[in-house]
């Protein structure tokens, strides 16, 4: 990594490794905020007729928890790994467009700050604190989100924040598609790509196709709220169902955006710690591609209770059941990878195995949703909350922690403490099951989602209490992780190039890598370059010092400057001040022009 120190070097960095770290810490910060929101929710629901928070505050809490976790924590945590690891895995010096990469990060940061500023912005809108955060659910259904029913700025924060975040994701999508397709080391054919890189590629294609749809949906909402348009108003002949279609056309591919990278991580971690190649690499890759494609065909399974009619319901039920096939195939491949392997029970492996187990449970409840009659009982209850937390927490979060423990030495040069890691894992694993397993029952017994309290007569108090205890256990587990991070940052065991005997290229260079990554770009002759297989010897790692000076591009201010234009434009909507939109656009354009004409050699 670059030796340059100081704030300026971070503000102007175009180095994918630094940007990866920026994403990581920012995303982790938002993860903690989202977790805090969850704890308050669970505190409120620990008993019937709870009065920890009001109903209005509760609405803001579950909205922000969902929005934060999805857009500000899980996606950017995945991005942290896309950024840091992908160029290393493909044998490149950086991504295709380093400044665009930096731009993506700054835009994400500003979008996240804007969203969370809403917690404190109440007084600016003649309301109290904790009053104007988004409160329409993470999926913002119309027409609750229209001016008539949401007169305050809450929904404006939400739709503006999401539009800004969309720009960040789209820019990164184009960047990584070109990077993965065009910057691979010689000999690294597509079918020699690490599975994490493959899954990332599929994810980026989903991003660049799905995000435009939600952008349109949000723009329609913005026009309804700002200019009196009628995109979702039945009185004008429109229908709120359009919002649902547009949202879920994005929203379903979004969940594959959330899970595929974690599946990629697990597909790296399991083979490494079973000391066995991934079983059925080709099948796993094709399944990932299929999931990406088929994910476009299932969206109305989120709308089984809308009354679309038997034909639509049947069609989407069929496609939703079909998509379980490539997913299930991967599960079998992961299990087969472990079977007969020489298992090393590292923390990363624990998280990866935990992923597989929890994802099976989440997948099973998911398949039960695919049946419209069954879903009619399940939808809008805690049963659904159980499902998506099993796949997103048990799946994505556990998978990302597997990646954290796996790649931490590479990114920081220190190994995390293994015993503490095991404590973290077990506390989190038990905590998560305590939190979410009861929700299957709570939901089927009739407790709806998004209610700030429930009556004692329902008899759900005990299960809710168990769930709350589990949530606090998860919090403890995260504290354990943070202690681990703190303690090892100066005194942790220094990491060698390859602490795990990994098979892929990132393990062939130092931990952390030099700023230019590879002193000599390797030539790749197999899918497992660093392992000895029956067909080839392990590669020679690149020399510690480069044979000739390697040019590394410098930093640039312009991505940051350009990124600043977007929140300024958003502010114009929040404050109903027209000239701000021109100022913001001017800043954006100025930044882009300086960026375009700046001498910058990759």
């Amino acid at each position: 990594m670059s030796d340059a120190k100081g704030l300026t070097s971070w503000l102007t960095t175009t180095d994918h490794k630094r940007i990866g770290l920026l994403y990581f810490w920012t995303a982790f910060g938002f993860f903690l905020i989202g977790g805090l929101e969850a704890l308050v929710i669970r505190a409120q629901l620990a008993q019937p007729n709870g009065h920890v928070v009001s109903a209005e505050t509760f609405n803001q809490l579950f909205t922000m928890h969902g929005t934060t976790m999805i857009f500000l924590a899980l996606m950017p945590l995945s991005s942290a790994f896309f950024n840091y690891i992908i160029p290393l895995q493909i044998g490149a010096r950086d991504v295709a467009f380093p400044r665009l990469n930096a731009f993506s990060y700054w835009v994400f940061l500003f979008g996240g700050l804007l969203l969370n500023a809403s917690w404190f912005a109440g007084p600016l809108f003649h309301a109290g604190m904790l009053n104007v955060a988004p409160d329409g659910g993470w999926f913002g259904y119309a027409n609750l989100t229209e001016r008539q029913f949401s007169p305050g700025p809450n929904i404006d924060f939400w739709q503006l924040g999401l539009q800004i975040l969309g720009v960040s994701s789209l820019a990164a999508g184009f960047n990584f598609i070109v990077t993965i397709l065009n910057l691979r080391a010689p000999g690294m054919t597509m079918m020699r790509l690490p599975v994490f890189t493959w899954m990332t590629l599929v994810t980026q294609f989903i991003i660049i196709t799905a995000f435009p749809v939600i952008t349109v949906a949000l723009v329609f909402l913005m026009f309804d709220r700002l200019f009196g348009a009628h995109f979702y108003l039945a009185s004008a002949g429109a229908t709120p169902i359009l919002w649902q279609h547009l949202f879920w056309l994005f929203g379903h591919p979004e969940v594959y955006i959330l899970i595929l990278p974690a599946m990629g991580v697990v597909s790296e971690v399991l083979p490494t710690f079973a000391r066995k190649p991934l079983f059925g690499y080709t099948v796993v890759v094709y399944s990932g591609v299929l999931i990406g494609l088929m994910g476009w065909g299932v969206w109305s399974h989120h709308m089984f209770a809308v009354g679309l009619g038997p034909i639509a319901d049947s069609a989407f039920a069929a496609t939703s059941m079909l998509i379980a096939i490539p997913t299930g195939v991967k599960i079998f491949n992961w299990i087969a990878t472990l079977w007969g392997g020489d298992i090393r029970g590292t923390t990363a492996l624990h998280f990866a195995v935990g992923f597989v187990a929890m994802f099976i449970i989440g997948g099973l409840s998911g398949v039960s949703h695919a049946s419209p009659p069954a879903d009619l009982q399940q939808t809008d209850t805690y049963y659904v909350v159980a499902h998506f937390h099993y796949v997103l927490f048990g799946g994505t979060v556990l998978g990302l922690f597997a990646g954290i423990y796996y790649w931490w030495p590479k990114m920081t040069g220190r190994l995390l403490n293994e015993p503490l890691g095991k404590w973290h894992f077990w506390l989190q694993f038990i905590g998560m099951n305590l939190t979410f397993f009861p929700m299957h029952f709570i939901g089927l017994l009739g407790m709806p989602r998004r209610v700030y309290t429930y009556a004692p007569e329902l008899g759900l108090a005990d299960l809710n209490l168990v769930s709350t205890i589990g949530a606090f256990l998860i919090a403890v587990s995260i504290l354990v992780f943070l202690v681990n991070v703190w303690r090892t940052r100066r005194h942790g065991q220094p990491a060698p190039n390859d602490p795990w005997h990994g098979a892929t290229l990132e393990w062939s260079i130092s931990s952390p890598p030099p700023v230019y990554n590879f002193s000599v770009i390797p030539t790749v002759t197999s899918r497992l370059p660093r392992w000895k297989t029956e067909h080839h010897e392990p590669m020679r790692d690149p020399p510690a010092t480069p044979p000739a000076p390697i040019h590394v591009p410098g930093g640039s201010w312009w991505p940051l400057v350009a990124a600043c234009g977007l929140p300024v434009m958003a502010l114009s909507v929040l404050t109903h001040t027209l000239w701000l939109v021109f100022l913001g656009a001017a800043i954006l354009l100025f930044g882009i022009y300086r960026w375009a004409f700046e001498p910058f050699e990759v």
Partner: protein, 194 residues
């Protein structure tokens, strides 16, 4: 745009920026399809007028359509000129493309103003909001394109554009043609099929 990675090895032998741009165009297909689908889905559902057949002006819009098509021709002639090093004609065609783009935008402004006078605004009815957001988004894309073209033209005037960086003109062209192609769809779906 200055130096680019054209001399670096690429896995597919294709220019990074061109690849990124085609991916971007693919993404924009989803953007415009969402807008067009909404227009189609809400077609005929306005509760109050004005209605399309009352105010859409086919002769006027046909001229706009020709204008944009001709601008695409000029764009491609500009690219051909720059590629063969003929910067005199490169500048002429680039400017002409931008000019026709401005004419198109002027036509849009005229059309929008006319519609507002006839009582069609964003908030009047479904036709109003779907029409203005769809064609407005397209118009915004044209405006960005005009700005882009004029920037290139100025670069050419400064002697900073030539066959060596013809790729920037090619990518500008991809953007411009795509914007034209979207209009081809809009013209048919909004204006001709009422």
């Amino acid at each position: 745009m200055t130096h680019a990675a054209t001399t670096h090895h690429t896995s597919l032998g294709l220019d990074n920026r061109k690849m990124a741009f085609w991916a971007f165009i693919g993404s924009e297909c989803l953007l415009f399809t969402s807008l067009i689908s909404t227009y189609l889905v809400y077609k005929g559902r306005s509760v109050v007028g004005p209605y399309p057949h009352e105010i859409l002006n086919i002769p006027f819009t046909s001229v706009s359509t020709f204008d944009l098509l001709m601008s695409s021709l000029m764009m491609v002639l500009a690219l051909a000129a720059v590629q063969r090093g003929d910067m005199k004609w490169g500048k002429i065609w680039l400017f002409s493309t931008a000019l026709l783009g401005l004419v198109f935008l002027g036509g849009q402004v005229l059309e929008f103003t006319e519609f507002v006078h006839k009582g069609l605004t964003l908030s009047t009815n479904l036709f109003g909001c779907t029409f203005f957001v769809l064609t407005g988004t397209h118009g915004a894309h044209v405006a960005v394109g005009v700005l882009w073209l004029l920037t290139l033209w100025v670069r050419a005037l400064q002697g900073k554009l030539g066959p060596a960086n013809a790729m920037t003109v090619e990518i500008t062209g991809l953007y411009w043609h795509f914007v034209d192609v979207v209009w081809i769809v809009i013209f048919t779906v909004v204006y001709l099929i009422q």
